[in-house]
């Protein structure tokens, strides 16, 4: 099994962060993982994206031509990456600021008002984690327990309050 995941949004929306969380989650569960940032001058301002591959066997090609899953946090990312999800795949969109009017009927599009839901938690910058929670039931290689471990490993030790807040957002996205 292999999950190929594309993550995209504005710089500052925490795209790289949820990529790292997913990568750690896979690694801490003993999976093969790979995190690939887009890098270069486009990193400052504009859109940011990264891709994550999580697999139960060795990852040879880390190049994602068509993804199994995508999380898009803003409109340009939705427009850019909608065609890059393979038929039967799942795309989670932050519908607080993304119009999912341009549709594909061969993939599942989950529209989550992640910005609004994050605001209810008191911090709009948690929209990324809400979307991660919404995608979680669809992923084959990681689950909530592994994400909890990953958040703990990445932010937990230094800032325990951030650990709770991030996981609250993930659970909200999961509908729990």
């Amino acid at each position: 099994m292999m999950d190929k995941i594309l993550l995209a949004g504005f710089g500052g929306q925490g795209v790289m962060f949820i990529g790292k969380i997913l990568t750690y989650a896979g690694m801490l569960d003993g999976r093969e993982v790979c995190w690939i940032p887009s890098y270069g001058p486009e990193m400052r301002g504009g859109t940011a994206n990264c891709s994550v591959v999580i697999s139960d066997e060795e990852i040879h090609s880390p190049v994602i031509e068509y993804a199994d899953f995508a999380i898009v946090l803003n409109q340009p990312s939705y427009d850019k990456f909608l065609p890059r999800v393979k038929p039967g795949g799942v795309l989670v969109a932050n519908s607080s600021i993304v119009s999912t009017a341009g549709k594909r009927d061969d993939i599942e599009i989950i529209a989550v008002p992640a910005g609004d839901m994050a605001n209810e938690l008191g911090n709009v910058s948690l929209a990324n984690m809400v979307c991660l929670g919404a995608l979680l039931p669809k992923l084959t290689m990681v689950d909530l327990a592994s994400v909890e471990k990953a958040v703990s490993a990445v932010v937990g030790k230094k800032k325990p309050e951030l650990y709770e807040l991030n996981l609250a957002a993930v659970r909200k996205g999961l509908g729990k």
Binding site: M27, V33, W35, I36, Y39, H60, E65
Partner: protein, 353 residues
């Protein structure tokens, strides 16, 4: 042993520290900057020094000076910066100084772009500087190899008294993968009985590359020629992936090598006998991998350049089977499906992608 999630460039830095590197001289350039960044943070704690030179020329010559004292020394750069180091590389080869030099290949020519490329293959393997020298070139394809090969590069440099190049690319440098931080393996290395560190109580030594007369020049060159021949005989290394019964061989190194593995597996699932030769030493080029081509109907070389390693493949194959070429340029990467389509096209095979 537990694994750490790190960028490829960070893996190089950590491996250097654990290999006993004590001095790093460099000038930052994307996409290699995380190497100097990582070392700046961690090498001083390990008793080493990181010094940013005023430019690449200064940095490589600082490596020359430091290596003459017997310390383990490294520098790292990316294509345009690596070009600036070439005169120094030639001097290192002539003075036979062990230095590890990382080139995180970005696109070119000129200032180029920041994406991954393999267009520095000629420059690294044929002698980017003057004078006809050879140097060991290692081509990692994943985080763990960036770590392992960097560590080994220091031993190879000491064993053969030569500069060793780690040829990475922007993709490998920026990608994060789990890396097992292995301990430095024990290596049986010759004593550094040539270093210049003060000659009180012993005969004076000299480390220099100048040949005062043509007669001396010929003696020196015969010595280098013999050394290069010995390295060529003893160091060739490659990975053969499903190559044993292959009717079609892909040849690719680094990033292309690992992508090609996915193409091989996909072809095999369709009953097409495809294999891969992934050169690990680019110099010496693994000619021995092509010694037996019985049953091989053709070869497809995949590179991120206009066609460089394919020349070495053709020299090794000696026209025994046709050699084709596929590339992507300017920072773009081929997908496994693209490689498979090309295989189908050149060898007239029905492939499903």
């Amino acid at each position: 042993m537990s694994k750490e999630l790190m960028k490829g460039n960070e893996a190089i830095g950590e491996a250097a520290i654990r290999a006993g590197c004590k001095l790093f001289f460099g000038y930052p350039i994307t996409p290699s900057t995380e190497i100097v960044e990582y070392l700046s943070k961690h090498l001083p704690k390990a008793g080493g020094t990181v010094l940013q030179g005023e430019d690449e020329v200064a940095s490589i010559n600082m490596c020359y000076g430091a290596a003459t004292t017997g310390a383990r020394v490294m520098t790292a750069s990316s294509s345009p910066g690596f070009s600036l180091k070439q005169e120094g590389m030639s001097y290192l080869a002539a003075a036979e100084l062990p230095v590890v030099v990382v080139n995180v290949n970005r696109t070119g020519p000129g200032l180029g772009g920041l994406g991954p490329s393999q267009a520095d293959y000629f420059q690294c393997t044929k002698g980017g500087g003057h004078g006809g020298y050879r140097q060991i070139v290692l081509a990692p394809s994943k985080g763990q190899e960036l770590y392992d090969f960097t560590m080994e590069a220091f031993d190879l440099a000491d064993k053969y008294r030569t500069p060793v190049v780690i040829l990475s690319d922007g993709f490998l440098g920026q990608m994060m993968e789990p890396v097992e931080l292995k301990k430095r393996p024990k290596a049986d290395l010759p004593a550094k009985d040539w270093v210049v560190g003060g000659c009180k109580g012993r005969a004076k030594r000299k480390v220099a590359s100048y040949s005062l007369t043509n007669e001396i020049g010929e003696v020196n060159n015969l010595h280098w020629e013999a050394k290069f021949a010995e390295m060529k005989d003893s160091l060739q290394r490659w990975e053969a992936f499903h190559a044993e019964d292959a009717e079609y061989l892909i040849v690719g190194y680094g990033t292309c090598g690992r992508i090609a593995k996915s193409a091989v597996l996909k072809a095999r699932r369709q009953g097409i006998k495809v294999g891969l030769i992934r050169p690990i030493t680019l110099w010496p080029f693994p000619e021995e991998a092509f010694a037996n081509l019985d049953g091989v109907k053709g070869i497809l070389t995949v590179e991120l350049n206009f066609g460089q390693m394919v020349e070495d493949v053709k020299l090794a194959v000696e026209c025994r089977t046709p050699v084709y070429f596929h590339n992507r340029l300017g920072g773009m990467l081929p997908s496994e499906n693209e490689i498979l389509r090309k295989l189908g096209q050149v060898f007239d095979l029905a492939v499903e992608v």
